[in-house]
């Protein structure tokens, strides 16, 4: 059963003389068809909120000294934390890929005299930078550099 949209969706500023039926939302919103990916995209915001709280917890522990910090880091080895981080990784990849799909077509035909490169070049560059940054951070975390 389709749900109602906002009662003033697409309503004129001055109502007409004829009574109208209230607008309905698209029937597939939020969980069917192509809207599913959009809704999931919105829900990844919850993951980032939780990640933000985790980061605050780490910073807080850092202020309490090395022992407290090490205890927080050790707690991340719990299977539930590992599962959460895997889920967060999936969320980040999903949002990243979605953003990369949008980015080339969000470029104006030109910015001043400069024309953006073709979409394929932009997309390749985005993925190259993403992979490069991931490799560098993985190397830092593994102690390969800046150890």
């Amino acid at each position: 059963m389709p749900q109602h949209a906002h009662p003033e969706a697409m309503a004129p500023s001055k109502p007409g003389s004829t009574r109208t039926a209230p607008p309905l939302r698209p029937p597939q919103l939020p969980f069917a068809g192509r809207y599913r990916a959009y809704t999931l995209f919105g829900w990844t915001g919850l993951l980032y909120l939780l990640l933000g709280f985790l980061a605050l917890r780490v910073v807080w522990a850092l202020g309490d000294g090395k022992q407290a910090f090490d205890a927080v880091i050790a707690s991340f080895e719990h299977p539930l934390y590992i599962a959460f981080h895997v889920l967060a990784l999936v969320g980040v990849v999903f949002v990243g890929v979605r953003f990369f799909r949008l980015f080339p077509k969000a470029q104006p035909p030109r910015i001043g005299p400069v024309k953006p490169p073709p979409p394929a070049v932009i997309l390749t560059a985005l993925y190259a930078v993403w992979i490069g940054v991931t490799v560098v951070f993985a190397a830092i975390l593994a102690g390969g550099i800046f150890a």
Binding site: H6, A9, P22, P23, L24
Partner: protein, 249 residues
């Protein structure tokens, strides 16, 4: 003589004088193999139930009048072949719009949003006739041409989840049209439109569902226009911070 195929049409009906809420009514229609959905609706109107109300005009996907929800998807009914549907076809008015009667939706809100983006060429100073025509190169035309292909069919509004929740959102077609004029080499109103786009409930309300571009029957890609307009509005705002004279334009 070939067997005539019959399809069942489940059509949403609403009479503002009698009905509190819309209801559905079924019709058995003998359809021809080359019919579009609109042909079947016209058959119902002409031969079965003359009280059915729906909008249509050109029958060639140019006027944008016959947009409706067909089996849950916003479609131009003159463009979609009946053969692409099964034995039952559900036809409803476009979502996200108030319904005036049956399949006819209220257009005034849509027209107000269009007017808001100033969809015309704005010049700082009117050009004299004796100065001759304003010439435009094919390259300059190419920058906005596909955004000018919009036929105002409103399918993008019917598919947009933001329009469903935020009434003040200008919406895909209006922003695409405003952006089309801002890209026009003859126009000098981009700064004015950027200020409108930066206002409440405008381009930044778009959360990129991309549904507008998915359902657009003319491949206008309104999602691209909205997101380009976002970028232009931000660049314009940033330039105004470092170049105060530009902010005053």
């Amino acid at each position: 003589m070939s067997d005539v195929q019959k399809k069942t049409f489940v059509v949403t009906r609403f009479d503002p004088d009698r009905d509190q809420v819309p209801k559905t009514q079924s019709y058995e229609v003998p359809v021809e193999p080359d019919w579009k959905v609109l042909d079947a609706l016209n058959f119902i109107k002409d031969h079965i139930d003359p009280t059915l109300s729906h909008r249509w005009s050109c029958r060639m996907a140019v006027c944008g009048s016959c947009g409706m929800l067909v089996n849950g998807e916003p479609k131009l009914t003159c463009k979609v072949a009946l053969s692409s549907y099964g034995d039952t076809v559900e036809v409803a008015p476009l979502p996200n719009f108030p319904v005036i009667r049956d399949l006819v939706v209220e257009l005034d809100g849509f027209m107000e949003k269009f007017e808001h983006v100033k969809p015309w060429i704005i010049r700082a100073k009117e050009r004299a006739v004796e100065d001759g025509p304003m010439r435009q190169s094919p390259e300059e035309l190419e920058e906005f041409k596909h955004f000018s292909m919009c036929i105002n069919c409103m399918l993008c509004y019917a598919a947009c989840p933001v329009v469903a929740n935020e009434p003040e959102f200008l919406g895909p077609a209006a922003i695409a049209l405003g952006h089309r004029y801002s890209l026009d080499s003859r126009d000098e109103g981009a700064g004015e439109r950027n200020r409108i786009f930066r206002g409440e409930g405008t381009v930044f309300a778009c959360s990129y569902a991309n549904e507008c571009s998915e359902v657009c029957p003319k491949n206008v890609d309104p999602a691209a226009a909205v997101n380009q307009a976002k970028l232009k509005a931000v660049i314009d705002w940033a330039a105004g911070l470092v170049l105060p004279r530009r902010a005053e334009e």
